[in-house]
Symmetry: C2
Subunit: 334 residues, 2 copies
């Protein structure tokens, strides 16, 4: 099968905010399939905050994207040709070769078969994928929530945050979520059962708003944004509060400000634990087992914001940082 792949390449590194000209769409004929390979037609690709970091030159926990090379990210698709006996045409798979409509992959290169008979295939990029895993690991394994505790989660209408909020409710916590719009706040309150939704764009003083929402203080802060959110959470934390640090969206565009009240981390005996989900894949089975059950029981609701067409993937990533999404931001490639 001779296939022309359409791919998004990194054209230049952003300085500060991402711009459309940092990307370029390239058409490239794929080589003929070799033994032990699978050719995948991608159906959905994931757009995630961590991708901003990979656009920088600086080293991070994951190597930077290369200028002139195709971008990467999780994607799900359908096998359309296979010389790897483990995969057949028509199989649903997940892999890391997003940002392209077709991917020719070694079967050994993290190609994972999916059972998409009971859930839509794109769920494996959200609640059943890395965002769900990060929410589950950070909340359940780091924060260890107890019934009756109060938790604050930022980006609470995002892919990770909306799952953290719901798992915390399942664990019997009082949940305060922060979001950037009234529409998101309504979704949290009306659909997800979040106790207090703070629209930080409507609050002149986030710390005061958090203090009103949690007069006794918070036991857990699940950080997705850093910056003033982290500072407010430290200020309103109870003694011995636990902070799983999952993301710091405010830092990805090059802004840099540490919390000026960091001494309170000692005064209040706080635990700040940074983590990267891919280092904790040993709990994947446990996570999947729990999450599938919760989704089947209707206890976890998922929502997606879908952008159509590979050519619009850069706009989807830019939109992610503008807060355009409610729930998981996806690009449909089919």
């Amino acid at each position: 099968m001779s296939v022309i792949a359409r791919e998004i390449h990194l054209n230049s590194r952003p300085t500060g905010k991402i711009e459309p000209q940092n990307f370029v769409l390239v058409e490239r004929p794929l080589p003929a399939i070799a033994p032990g390979q699978v050719l995948v037609r991608n159906l959905f690709m994931s757009v995630d905050p961590y991708m901003r970091g990979r656009m920088n030159e600086a080293e991070s926990y994951i190597e930077p994207f290369q200028i002139g090379a195709v971008l990467e990210g999780t994607a799900v698709g359908e096998v359309i040709e296979s010389t790897d006996s483990r995969f057949s045409v028509g199989d649903a798979v997940a892999h890391f070769a997003g940002w392209r409509d077709h991917a020719l992959l070694d079967g050994d290169d993290h190609v994972t078969p999916l059972d998409a008979t009971h859930v839509p295939i794109q769920a494996f990029l959200g609640a059943l994928g890395l965002p769900g895993h990060a929410a589950y690991y950070g909340l359940v394994h780091i924060a260890k929530p107890q019934a009756g505790e109060t938790i604050f989660v930022s980006s609470a209408a995002g892919a990770v945050g909306s799952l953290v909020a719901q798992i915390a409710k399942l664990k019997g916590c009082r949940v305060i979520g922060s979001v950037g719009s009234e529409a998101k706040a309504e979704w949290l309150r009306d659909e997800l059962g979040v106790d207090v939704a703070i629209n930080y764009n409507a609050e002149p003083d986030l710390e005061a708003a958090l203090r009103r929402a949690a007069p006794e203080g918070i036991d857990i802060y699940f950080d997705n944004v850093g910056g003033s959110h982290l500072k407010a959470a430290i200020a309103v934390a109870k003694d011995f509060a636990r902070f799983p640090l999952c993301g710091m969206v405010t830092q990805y565009n090059g802004e840099s400000e540490g919390p000026s009240n960091i001494y309170a981390v000692i005064q209040k005996s706080l635990l700040l634990q940074g983590f990267v989900g891919i280092n904790h894949l040993d709990i994947w089975e446990e996570f999947t087992h729990e999450m599938i059950k919760w989704i089947a029981e209707g206890q976890i609701k998922t929502r997606e914001t879908i952008v159509n067409g590979l050519e619009n993937a850069p706009d989807a990533l830019i939109g992610l940082f503008a807060g355009d999404n409610i729930g998981k931001m996806l690009v449909r490639l089919g």
Copy 2:
């Protein structure tokens, strides 16, 4: 017995650095001893960085000193009168009523009998007291050092830091200590066996100096100072490094700057754990057992900087922040 106690009272709250006029020496006749009390002649009092925080009005993990009232802190002394059957004249005791030459105390008010037959009584304010306990708890119970690991400790010639450095050596670690003078650096290298002593006052770039000392990165940072030390430690940390946060001297005088590279806490999966020793007194027996053994075996060396006379106690505290001490800063009251 009619006793006139000499006491140091808080005269005013400092704005920024502590000044001599923030203190006043007051002579006060003590009331006659009541049933269940002990009258203690203090021999040594402790001067500790955390006292700076108590001079502020703001709430902290421990309540602020009150203007016009006697200051507090750990002290050791000798019982000179007792109506509590548990204490006899001549007994050595530790308590929290420092900053005075005589203290009339309820026997129930944290008065602890000491066995000072084998160690000098002031050891119970240093290696066998709260500084030793903080060093032990933070290093052994939070950082959990493994042989072969590299640890960075700030204020490494201080009461806590010098013990952290030595316990880490006992655990088989490579130890890098930071200090503010060449004399302190020499003590660390020549007497305590520290592998690399960085004199930060002689280094234009602390992070570069730390990177030279630990080209592979650090596994543990024991923080006593915060500020640029914490930032450098985050920058040079290996993935999964552990940071017991014990003190932030740079913050006590009202400066406030969070580490601008805090996002690396996520990228490197760092653990930052603030702690206050008094919350972990459950390990006191274990700590005492280990520390007495190490001191007796000559594996832990202690050093003191002693200021004579209650009237000089304010200068001793001011001097502590100027780095005047090597080892434990004490005031001799006897």
